[in-house]
Amino acid sequence: MQITIPSVIVSLAVASVNGYALSYWRFKGSEVFFTILIIGSFIPYQVMLYPLVVITRELNIFGTLWGVILIHTIFGMPILTLLFRNYFAALPVELFKAARVDGAGFWGIFIKIMLPLSIPIVVVAMILQVTGIWNDFLFGTVFAGTKNWPMTAQLNNIVNTTQGVKEHNVNMAATILTGLVPLTIYFISGRYFVRGIAAGAVKG
């Protein structure tokens, strides 16, 4: 939880501002940035691992809470930014124009006009990110560390485990715990969530 909450908050804040800037403010290189993001969201994590480890080490935050937050923010960035960008792009651009005529600036439009309209997508992004981080954590803690096999093969090992009944129960409990957190968030925010899905079909 210590890791999850700040990670989610930081990634969402950065991603929503990114998405907003990409949708409405054409700056030099915004097209290029967008293309990199699209590619980024489909690059497997492994490609980015080494550079990131090096960067966090250099910043002297490797292994600290802030390092973990930074890593999660970067990993979550492409997909979350795209999510926000698509959501904002589906809002009528005339809303943005009207706000400019009414004298609101970059942050004024974002905070007063856009953010209040993006609760559904914030919830969707939150669930995605919480689920993602939680899964990373749990996979690492519980499932990693038996054999060098694909996930489905590992399963076999876990079920076939000869290390006794106790281990089996631990896995079971962990599994249930894992599922519980995102599910709880989902049920609490169900109404917003479905609206977010419906609004412009932003995320499958």
């Binding site: 009528p92 005339e94 809303l95 124009k97 009207a98 706000a99 400019r100 005529v101 009414d102 004298g103 609101a104 004024g108 007063k112 006009i113 209040p116 309209l117």
Partner: protein, 365 residues
């Protein structure tokens, strides 16, 4: 620059990447004038409006509002208010907050905000709606609030970007008149973009008809309807549109227009170009369907002909007739209660004065 001009646009150049919308656009709008920018989609009318509003950057040229060069100023500093097609109300705010948003951004004091909102609400008769959300309003009410948002800011120039396109036909008629009344009352400069020629004709002091980034004609509705400068304007204005007959002009003391077997005396047609004594090829005559004479009036006309009725379209007040005149399709309008049938042969005539002639380059003769 001149004082009587509210807006002056000088040599404006606008381009999206490689696509040039305007090369050198020039336009003067008189103080208090209601100017309509009219054209088909893609003609550049909305682009021009967005440039005036400051929502689009220009490549070259200048825009002056009330004598001040605002070419590089922010929209809020230009003294303009804008009304959008999709209303663009802030969905999460009440009507009152929508109206006051611009004033609060400008740091206007609370009691002044209250006063101005109340005044605008009264003018637009939206007082009972002040505490509602936009989602709870009808289309017409939303557009009224959107106009109010421009009204409260007490601006010099109102910009309208197809404000009635999203409304149904009845509401469109009603709001059109309200906008006209508003203009008669406020006497602000208003620039109004539309593709609807009826809106343009009814609202405008002057209409600028645009095509491919060029202003074709800038004149009063009356002159645009009666003396179109070229064939494009002639065909664009008027519904149903003008009949065009291709033929030859024979000059002389009594000029005559010949098309196929028809020879149509031109009577007192006021030529705007000098024509020779001989023949001029490639001339087009334009006759508006509502200027075709029928029945008793046709008998007295300078030019008479028989046409064969093909399709009759009763529209209530009037009936539109699609017929064949000397082998060419020809449309005319008759009174609504008249019962014509497909296949009938009837006599029509042309009024001597209400015609337009265009040369081979489509310019008015």
């Amino acid at each position: 620059m001149s004082d009587s001009h509210s807006i002056e646009i000088r040599d404006l150049k606008v381009a999206f990447g490689e696509v040039v919308v305007f090369e050198k656009m020039n336009l003067d709008v008189t103080d208090g004038e209601f100017l309509v920018l009219l054209g088909a989609s893609g003609c550049g009318k909305s682009t021009l409006l967005n440039c005036i509003a400051g929502l689009l950057d220009v490549k070259d040229g200048e825009i002056h509002i009330k004598g001040r060069n605002v070419t590089w100023e922010e929209p809020k500093d230009r003294g303009i208010g804008m009304v959008f097609q999709s209303y663009a109300l802030y969905p999460q705010m009440s009507v009152k907050r929508n109206l006051s948003f611009g004033l609060r951004n400008a740091g206007v004091k609370n009691d002044e905000v209250e006063r101005r909102v109340a005044q605008a609400a009264e003018v637009l008769q939206i007082e009972p709606l002040l505490n509602r959300r936009p989602a709870e309003l009808s289309g017409g009410q939303r557009q009224r609030v959107a106009i109010g948002r421009a009204l409260v800011r007490d601006v010099d120039v109102f910009l309208f970007d197809e404000p009635l396109s999203n409304l149904d036909a009845k509401l469109r008629t009603d709001l059109r008149v309200e906008i006209k009344r508003l203009h008669q009352r406020l006497k602000n400069t208003m620039i109004y973009v539309t593709h609807d020629q009826i809106e343009a004709m009814t609202l405008a002091d002057r209409i600028a008809i645009m095509r491919d980034g060029l202003i074709q004609q800038l004149d009063t509705p009356y002159n645009i309807y009666n003396n179109p400068v070229n064939k494009y304007v002639a065909g664009f204005i008027g519904s149903p549109s003008m009949n065009f007959l291709d033929g030859t002009l024979e000059g002389g003391a009594k000029p005559v227009f010949r098309a196929g077997n028809l020879s149509i005396p031109l009577g007192e047609y006021a030529f705007t170009q000098k024509i020779g004594k001989g023949k001029t090829e490639g001339v087009t005559m334009g006759v508006r369907p509502e200027h075709v004479l029928f029945g008793d009036l046709a008998k007295k006309a300078a030019f008479k002909a028989d046409v064969k009725v093909e399709v009759v379209e009763p529209m209530g007040a009037d009936t539109q007739v699609w017929s064949v005149l000397d082998g060419r399709p020809f449309r005319f309008r008759v009174e609504g209660q008249l019962q014509l049938a497909s296949g009938d042969v009837v006599a029509i005539g042309f009024d001597a004065s209400r015609r337009s002639l265009f040369d081979a380059a489509d310019q008015r003769l």
